[in-house]
Amino acid sequence: MRWPIPALLLSLLALTAPLQAKEELVTLPKRDTVQLTIYNSVDLTLVRETRELTFKKGNNRLQFSWANTLIDPTSVEFNALTNPDKIEVLDTSYPAESNQMLIWTISSEEAVSAKVEISYFTSGISWGAEYHGMLSGDERSMKLTAYVSVSNRSGEEYENATVRLVVGSINLVEEIAALGGGGRQERMKEAYGKMREADAAENRKKDIVKEGLSEYYIYTVEGQETIPNQWSKRLESFVQEGVPLRTVYTWDARKYGAQLVKLLVFKNDEAHKLGREPLPAGIVRLYRDAGQGRLGFVGQVATNYIPKNDEVKVNAGADPEVQLKSKRLSFKKENLTFGWSGNRQYLAGWDTVEGFELELKNFRKRDVDFEVNVVLGGDFDFDSETASSKIDFQTQRFSLNLKAGENRKVAYTVRTRNGSNVRNK
Amino acid sequence: MKRNYQLPITNDQFRSAPRRPSQLVIGNWLLVICCSLLFPATLNAKEELVTLPQRDSVQLTIYNSEDLTLVRERRTLSFKQGNNRLQFSWANTLIDPTSVEFHPVGKDAQDALEVLDASYPAESHEMLIWTVACTKPAGYSVEISYFTSGISWSAEYTGIVDAAEGSMDLTAYVTVHNNSGEEYENAQVRLVVGVIHMVERIIDLAQPRQQGAPRPMPPAELEELERMAEDGINEDPGTGMAKPKEIQKAGLSEYYIYTVEGQETIPNRWSKRLRSFVVQDVPLKTVYRLEPDKFGPSFTKVLEFKNDEEHKLGKEPLPDGLIRLYKDAGQGRLGYMGTLASKYIPKNEEVKINVGPDAECTLKEKRLSLRKKDLVLDQWNRLVGWTTVEDFELEVRNFRGRDVEVEIHRSMQGKFEFDSEDAWEKHDADTQKIHFTLKAGESRKLTFKVTTKNGENAR
């Protein structure tokens, strides 16, 4: 049995009054259970372990040490799960000679056996989500598989642990790795070199139970897991067939640069056969069936946390079969106004009038949706025969649908007032 | 350190071995007085030596504003008819050579003795020779005085504040620091409170390189102080149990002199702390103050009393020094409140001790609104004048379980009008102030409006 962590030492010291007295070491009890609660927003894992301990009447001294681990000494807690009314922690002492050890003075009303829990924070274990979407041939739906991967770079092997994953962004005011003391950087480096993925092929797929707690979700992995040091282990979180997918060709210089990009859009809701839980932040990769069982890569996006009912957009990049070109067809100045400075006349105000043309081409053999965002500045009037909507004070949007093989031109004019022509609206 | 008293020595011995251990040894340097009678009056003539007399008494007058101590010592010397040559040397000391003086003590001595000259031999800058004419041979008491550096004193105070912060027991101490290299045994100690004017530093005058510098005249006030010394001694036989020494305080010109009862021995490099006075139950007031000019930008707790009779003080000014405040934590136990450096506190002056912000009594200022009005444009349509109207709110919250007094000073800038329904009063041209009492657990909001004219509007 590799667990308990060899470096963690729990000893019960029979207490005779003075500190200098000879300490009697009581048989080290076995660890009964261990539970890992792993956070993904910060480098933090809460470890809880339970043991059965026997206390004698009066004061008992319990020593807990954790040399060569990444445990945060300020986080170590003792809790009596049974007989809590008879057992009380009087103080926690951190001896000078070791910063990786503490001693609890525990008073017990009578000689009892109790199940106790010791909990602490450690760093070096993390988890992340990944999503794998297989598009249907018509790109109108996909099979979505969600995974969670647990990576253990803590320096310890966790055997037969209950694993809980917390989805959410908790506030930490100090890094656990810093509180856990030195040696961490070296260990991380070493670990990265050796990291490899554990064989995901287990006898049976495990369920992951998802529950909400405050602003977070807790994913509990069914049964127990063993995660050796420097290993990553990937578990399937869910699989969903036939998730409907929408394709929108989007032109938005502020988000995607000057090119027209293909966005594959779905929602984390019931209509999309999802929406049972939020989707933790992770990489979404989309593939298409390239025939003969081969995969073709379509695109990927690193998503933030996706709440239930929220939308996901995966950028599949530029598509040569769908094009957009923008041209300025005309430019003129109007309404020139002049002022006098002494006996010299100068140009005080003018309007510019520009005519633009957007040319959209759909070479695909299916209808496509466009979303074209035009960003403007200054005191302007926007005018077009094609319907558009105002997104904010400087953005107009054309939402268009082009049939298979269709070409379309959209014209608009922009009048911008300059100098003294800027209006007092 | 024991003093060894002198065997007769010859002038030759003296010249060749001025630091012989058989001479008067003081600390790690030598102070030598050699009294010789000379017949005839040439330096090379054979000298007859007299027994070197004991120092009868020594008095130290220590200044705290300057590194300066006036030393007076008295000895009884035998003089012969005619001219007596008296040699005084001070190798390896911090004595100011320009300050060394010789005075006969008492009417007989003054009638019989006259200093004809003081000569400073070329071969030694740490020696002088007085030629003293004597009309009636006898033993006379003489006083030699000089300035030295390396001895200083400072004041300290300990205040123990009662639980209600309504009064305190104040103990004042004086501490004498002796780094002069000399052990002063059984010296009468006098301390001068006040800032005297010195044109040169004693430590510089004591250095050999300063030889030949013009002799500075001691300030007139010092001469006066020296005369004061004649009647300062207050010795008490002290029968029965010893009591802490009285420190007598007397005023003089711009200074105060504290005279320590009896005699003190202060070994070289030691400090000695003596109790100056104890006053029980000095009435104390706590005021929470926002006064940026005096106490910085924070709303701060200030303990206040006055150096006057009403506060059981006022008998003398309080020299500058550290005030350490403790509070009575019950059963004679103490809690620490704070330490601060106090300036010289004249009689009848208020003392305000800033003990720092208190999280249990807070003040917060908010600007509730800003409006601009009376905008004035010039002929080129440029803004040249405007008036701002700002509403402010000050909220003072007292989380303590007792009433507190609060005083707030609020300064404004520029050409402003101040308007409030609260009882503010004008403190100076730019500052309004308000003083009130806030009950336990209460808070109070003060509001005021500041109208400021800017640019053309301020003309």
């Binding site: 908790i170 807790i218 | 600007r367």
Partner: protein
């Protein structure tokens, strides 16, 4: 012959402070003999925010006349100017005549006069450096987030150079615990525990606290007796928050620095980001108007689209800021209440319906008299 006795702290090998006594003589040979009165009734006080006052009692045998008592503290960080030494009996006939400080030593000598030979108990108070203190809290929040159990811990670490075999440690709020504390050792003690403390949960959008515009989850504790606290001011310290997960165990849900909180005041703790509530900001109107020379007003409409993806409605507080002179316009809408906190700050409360149905806060305002 000098007769001088020395007292150590407690007879341990690590000798910290020493009291010796001798007949009055000059001090050229300060011989320290070893008959040691024990330190009694040692008290270590933390009532000052950054100084630690130690008090101890010593019983000293005095002879009639003037006694010299020697106190030395080599190796420990005692502030010698702070030493207060006095008989425990306020009516004692014993007097302390003077205090002398030898050169280059962590020591002093008192000159004490006594009317007769007697045994007198003295109390010695002094500031000691390098005794560190730290407050921290553990909160266990109920599963429904309505109440919590609040535990207050006090931790002291002793780097002073001295050893406390047994001392009463007194916290700022007067809690006393008796412990021993070695040099270098730290001890953490539970000093207060409050059950069923009422808790307010708030969702806050405030760019000055979270510049990315994410919504924060705050717990607000009112430090009053009615709300389950309130007996003492709460010291500054880290608060670690756990929540009952409804299965007999808890999960850590975040931590924050708890600011010093006077009785009656609020302690606000950010536990983390509420990721299921999203706020999207758009400026819909940004016009200049009412030009007078180089002076102008602006007309601005800021729109905050709030989506609450939770299964139930929530109330969101938006703390927004506008600089300078400005007025909110009456056609602002979408909020349930607002408060102009100060000239620059306005606080809106918005009810956000469940399941992502968007709600818009329209904040229409004019900034006046800019130049």
């Amino acid at each position: 012959m000098n007769k001088r006795m020395i007292f150590t702290l407690a007879g341990t090998a690590a000798l910290a402070s020493v009291i010796g006594i001798s007949r009055p003589t000059t001090v050229e040979a300060r011989i320290k003999l070893a008959t040691l009165p024990d330190k009694e009734a040692v008290v270590v006080r933390f009532d000052h925010p950054n100084q630690v006052l130690v008090e101890e009692e010593r019983t000293i045998s005095l002879q009639k006349g003037v006694n010299t008592v020697d106190f030395s503290w080599a190796g420990t960080n005692i502030d010698k100017g702070s030493i207060v030494f006095r008989p425990v009996d306020v009516n004692s006939k014993v007097e302390i005549l003077s205090t002398s400080y030898p050169p280059g030593e962590a020591a002093l000598t008192w000159s004490i006069s006594s009317p007769d030979a007697r045994s007198e108990k003295f109390r010695l108070s002094y500031l000691m450096a390098n005794i560190q203190r730290e407050t921290d809290y553990r909160a266990i929040v109920s599963n429904d987030e309505k109440t919590l159990t609040f535990r207050h811990y006090f931790k002291i670490r002793n780097w002073s150079g001295g050893t406390f075999d047994s001392a009463d440690f007194i916290t700022r709020d007067g809690k006393t615990f008796e412990k021993g504390l070695d040099q270098g050792e730290a001890k953490r003690v539970l000093v207060n525990k409050w059950d069923k403390v009422n808790l307010n949960k708030e969702y806050v959008y405030d760019l000055t606290r979270q510049y990315e515009g994410k919504v924060m989850t705050d717990y607000v504790l009112k430090n009053t007796k009615e709300m389950g606290l309130g007996a003492i001011p709460l010291e500054y310290g880290k608060v670690r928050i756990y929540q009952d997960d409804g299965k007999g165990t808890t999960a850590f849900t975040g931590e924050d620095w708890g600011q010093f909180t006077a009785v009656g005041d609020d302690m606000r703790l950010n536990i983390g980001i509420a990721q299921d509530i999203k706020v999207e900001f758009k400026k819909m109107v940004n016009d200049v108007e009412n030009r007078r020379g180089n002076v102008y007003d602006t007309n601005e409409v800021d729109e905050y689209e709030i989506k609450n993806f939770k299964d139930s409605e929530v109330e969101l507080t938006l703390v927004l800021r506008v600089q300078g002179e400005w007025e909110m316009q009456k056609d602002s809408e979408g909020y349930t209440s607002f408060e102009r906190v100060d000239n620059e700050t306005i606080k809106f409360k918005v009810k956000a319906p469940a399941k992502g149905a968007p709600v818009k806060l329209k904040f229409h305002y004019k900034r006046l008299n800019n130049w």
